[in-house]
């Protein structure tokens, strides 16, 4: 049994410690918001937070989460269900198209804003270049991050 802290809750799973976090979250914990894209940390669709830092869960073994907090897309809204300001900005800017990469985009964006509340274009590019969007909504992603940066923090909880 491996003991995990996922979105603030303690969970136990019986898996090979080498199993990537992605598959533990999706299959063992049945939280499917985190997506499989490439399996080699090239596309960012699987991004989750490990102690607040964005990691590619497809290539990070669950053993690396020992003693650390995992946050997924399902866990970033407030306790009362109020969406995170990044999620709200995403709706406002009508960012997603097919939507498949967006969990990862949002997790990268929330980690960026936590570290850097007012990122420049270059800083946004640097933080978000690991996240591929095949529908090409990069312009909207950039706009939404800037909009969220200018917003007061709402619906946010420490992750």
């Amino acid at each position: 049994m491996i003991k995990l802290n996922v979105n603030g809750q303690t969970r136990e799973v019986d898996v090979d410690p080498a199993t990537p976090i992605l598959w533990v979250v999706r299959e063992n914990l049945e939280m499917t918001g985190t997506k499989f894209g490439c399996g080699i940390a090239q596309c960012g669709a699987c991004t989750v937070h490990l102690d607040g830092k964005p990691v590619r869960s497809c290539s990070t073994p669950i053993s690396a989460a020992d003693g650390k907090a995992i946050a997924t897309i399902e866990g970033i809204a407030g306790e009362d269900g109020t969406l995170h300001r990044v999620q709200q900005a995403w709706i406002e800017a009508q960012v997603p198209q097919c939507g498949y990469c967006q969990s990862g985009q949002i997790m990268s964006a929330t980690a960026l804003l936590q570290k850097n509340p007012n990122p420049t274009d270059a800083q946004i590019d640097a933080a978000m270049a690991g996240n591929v969007c095949r529908c090409g909504m990069y312009g909207r992603i950039r706009a939404a991050i800037k909009a969220a940066a200018g917003q007061p923090a709402t619906g946010e909880k420490a992750v």
């Binding site: 898996v15 090979d16 199993t19 990537p20 598959w23 299959e27 063992n28 049945e30 939280m31 499917t32 918001g33 985190t34 997506k35 499989f36 894209g37 490439c38 399996g39 080699i40 090239q42 596309c43 669709a45 997924t72 897309i73 399902e74 809204a77 969406l83 999620q87 995403w90 709706i91 009508q94 960012v95 997603p96 198209q97 097919c98 939507g99 498949y100 990469c101 967006q102 969990s103 949002i106 946004i124 590019d125 640097a126 978000m128 270049a129 996240n131 591929v132 969007c133 095949r134 529908c135 090409g136 909504m137 990069y138 312009g139 909207r140 992603i141 950039r142």
Partner: protein, 746 residues
């Protein structure tokens, strides 16, 4: 199973069998209006296809009004990010005068009565003008054909222009007229005195005002109007508005369910690897290591592919990686990229001046070319392209007790259901197909190979199996946009005007008009093709043949302009003289870009103009060639799709198509060596990323509200030639072969 039964929370759900019954969506308890045919239809050949008179009053139900005054729009298309749920609901709700805040959206189930007969109409009879959908003979005949072909299909940028324009609006208007008729009868006032607004029925004279729902049952008794009156644009209230997309909230909180998220109790996971050369079979597999690996349940040699079924996907994939597989030899083993292009050249050479299949011909190109003062010739090449949807191909299937359930995201759910039935050896009726959101479609999810594979695995195991392709498998086993070669000869007269245009190119799939230039005023033109086997499987790729012909045609037009000593914009203006609608689009893009104004050293502007899928699009790209590789800094887009139903949604489609096309122009290449695809993942099949994203500015033009064009694809064809024409302007280097990553511009 519950997880796949419902879509995202809020106003939208998936219409699965359970939801269908659970929601009480049955004719008789509510008004349901569709636009196809009813039981009792006098056309003999239609009656056998109608439901046997149970609860269903109407086939193709596209709208329902229920007791709490909610209007439900049933969408016979799938959502893959193009915003179709919202745009089609807007069209229906506007005609109905529904309150937009009380409109729900359901995706139609994969049943044959939901086939998109309006798509059938445009695919099969593009020139046929049918004023009213209720015109029974024609509509019915097409319905029959469409059913036979399984056209519950989302693609070809057809949803708004065909289903929306011909079906959703008609259904909304018909429902409104039936509600008004019911109210007129109850209130004993002339129908002409009744108005409707925000899901209310109003009579000014008496001050009466009731919700739609009050008359829903009575309206269902009214006869269906033969030709409901559609609004003219000045009365649109919801069409033309940037309504927020219904599918977005579920896509920002992780709750949206894609095919890969299917959750069936007791399901296991499969990883697969197909023979790397098309047509090869598995000769032997050594699973000595795999059978000892943790979680492994079964190892299957399916003849054309190997599958490992395990407790988890990762376990299955690890075990699969350890299997040593030998494949049969095929003729294709020796095929390389260069050999294929050489084969194209041979066929084109053999066709010579007059061979090949003539697609269009007007005037005498031989004479035109002979008499031309200036002659231009060029050959262009493009490679195979993979779709690389973010969601790798996948499918969950469960075959047991003579029944089959299948979960996936497919552009043609009826086809998927039929494919599963064939693979399981069951009747269509014994298969339930559950469609989910598509993590990118782009044409890839119109194929059913994943459905067939998963069904075969599930049939062999007997328990539910979720098959997921690795990215490597997704890249190497795609149905590709074909590689192609195209050759041109053009003639210019003494004034530098184009007088002859001759083109011969390899293959033609769809749309058939992709290689043609009827909008350009050139005295003689002849366009031919030669069919050359390509070995790799063909698949429609966003904008299909327009994706290569847009590049070929607009590059050559630019070369002719240069040869004529003219500016690319001015040259195209001459070719479009007499077509004010086309000119307006071209002029708008040029004006936005500040065409003609000075740019820094090694910067350039390029223009391209491609009408496709009923929409007219012009783009101007700006490139910065001062660095080691091309940087596209800005793209100006002018688009006229007739009438824009949802401006923000249409704009997003333009942005998206530009990125998809620009990714291909910069990097996209699937190459073959020894018969195998050489690319495997995003490191060797790279994607455009946020740091390379140009600014995109879009202007929309409503040029003809009666003939709508598509939105998903027409933004793509102009981007590659706009960029390569800009590179020519900046550097003097003409790019005749994509992708740009093959070229050095130092």
């Amino acid at each position: 199973m519950s997880k796949t039964e419902t879509g995202s929370p809020g106003k939208m759900g998936k219409w699965t069998r359970r939801a269908f019954i659970g929601a009480g969506v049955v004719a008789g308890s509510a008004l349901v209006v569709g636009v196809a045919v009813r039981p009792g239809n006098p056309i003999d050949r239609l009656s056998p296809m109608l439901a046997d008179g149970k609860d269903e009053q109407l086939l193709n139900a596209w709208v329902k009004v229920d007791a709490d005054n909610i209007v439900t729009a049933v969408i016979p298309h799938v959502e893959m990010g193009q915003g179709v749920y919202t745009a089609l609901a807007q069209m229906l709700a506007d005609e109905m005068d529904a309150d937009w805040n009380k409109v729900q959206i359901l995706e139609a189930p994969a049943d044959k009565q939901y086939v998109s007969d309006s798509i059938g109409r445009d695919f099969l009879f593009p020139d046929l003008e049918v004023p009213a959908l209720f015109e029974p003979t024609v509509a019915g005949g097409i319905l029959e054909l469409a059913q036979a072909m399984g056209l519950q299909f989302t693609g070809g940028s057809y949803s708004v222009r065909a289903t929306g324009q011909r079906a959703m609006r008609t259904a909304g208007a018909a429902a409104r007229e039936m509600l008004v008729a019911a109210a007129a009868s109850e209130w004993q006032v002339p129908a002409g005195e009744i108005t409707t607004a925000d899901s209310m029925i109003l009579h000014a004279g008496s001050g009466k005002a009731e919700p739609f729902s009050k008359f829903a049952l009575a309206a269902a008794e009214q006869s269906l109007p033969a030709k409901p009156t559609l609004k003219s644009p000045e009365n649109y209230k919801i069409m033309g508005q940037s309504k927020a997309r219904h599918d977005i909230p579920g896509k920002v909180d992780g709750s949206a369910i894609f095919g890969i998220d299917a959750n069936v109790p007791g399901m296991k996971y499969a990883a697969v690897k197909a023979a790397p050369v098309v047509g090869a079979t598995v000769e032997s597999m050594d699973a000595t290591t795999a059978r000892t690996m943790p979680g492994v349940l079964q190892i299957l040699n399916m003849g054309d592919f190997v599958a490992v079924v395990a407790d988890g996907y990762w376990q299955a994939q690890q075990a699969l990686n350890s299997i040593d597989t030998k494949y049969s030899k095929t003729e294709g083993d020796s095929l390389d990229q260069e050999a294929l292009f050489a084969r194209y050249a041979t066929h084109l050479d053999e066709a010579g001046e007059n061979g090949g299949d003539v697609e269009t011909e007007e005037g005498d190109v031989g004479k035109g070319f002979a008499e031309a003062v200036t002659k231009v010739e060029a050959e262009y090449k493009v490679p195979f392209l993979a779709h690389a949807t973010m969601e790798p191909m996948n499918c969950t299937a469960w075959v047991r007790d003579g029944k089959c359930d299948v979960w996936s995201g497919h552009q043609a759910p009826v086809n998927a259901r039929q494919a599963a039935a064939d693979a399981a050896g069951l009747a269509f009726e014994d298969v339930t197909y559950h469609n989910a959101f598509l993590g990118g479609g782009f044409g890839r999810r119109s194929e059913s190979d994943n459905i067939i594979m998963a069904t075969r695995i599930a049939k062999a195991t007997g328990y539910p199996v979720k098959m997921i392709w690795s990215r490597e498998e997704d890249t190497a086993q795609d149905h590709y946009r074909p590689s192609a070669t195209s050759r041109f000869q053009g003639g210019l007269d003494k004034d530098g005007k184009a007088v002859s245009w001759s083109n011969i190119h390899t293959h033609l799939f769809d749309p058939k008009d992709a290689p043609t230039v009827p909008y350009y005023n050139i005295a003689s033109h002849k366009i031919r093709k030669v069919d050359v086997p390509t070995q790799l499987r063909f698949g429609p790729w966003r904008s299909v043949d327009h994706s290569q012909h847009g590049f070929f045609i607009e590059s050559f037009v630019d070369e002719m302009a240069h040869a004529a000593g003219k500016d690319g914009y001015a040259f195209r203006r001459e070719l479009l003289a007499g077509s004010p609608r086309h000119l307006k689009v071209l002029d708008t893009a040029a004006k936005m870009s500040g065409w003609g104004s000075a740019l820094p050293e090694r910067h350039g502007r390029g223009i391209a103009f491609v009408p496709s899928f009923g929409s007219i699009v012009a783009q101007v790209a700006e490139v910065d060639m001062s660095g080691p590789k091309p940087k596209v800094t800005k793209v100006y887009v002018a688009a006229d799709p007739g009438f824009v139903i949802n401006p923000d949604g249409f704009t997003a489609q333009m942005e998206s198509a530009i990125v998809y096309g620009l990714t291909a122009a910069l990097y996209g290449e699937i190459s073959i060596k020894n018969g195998e695809v050489q690319q495997s993942n995003f490191h060797d099949y790279p994607m455009l990323r946020i740091n390379e994203m140009p600014e995109v500015e879009v202007a929309l033009i409503n040029g003809d509200h009666k003939r709508l064009g598509g939105g998903g694809e027409p933004g793509l064809p102009p981007i590659a030639p706009a960029v390569t024409n800009a590179i020519f302007a900046a550097t003097g280097t003409r790019v005749r072969e994509l992708p740009l990553s093959k070229h050095s511009f130092a």
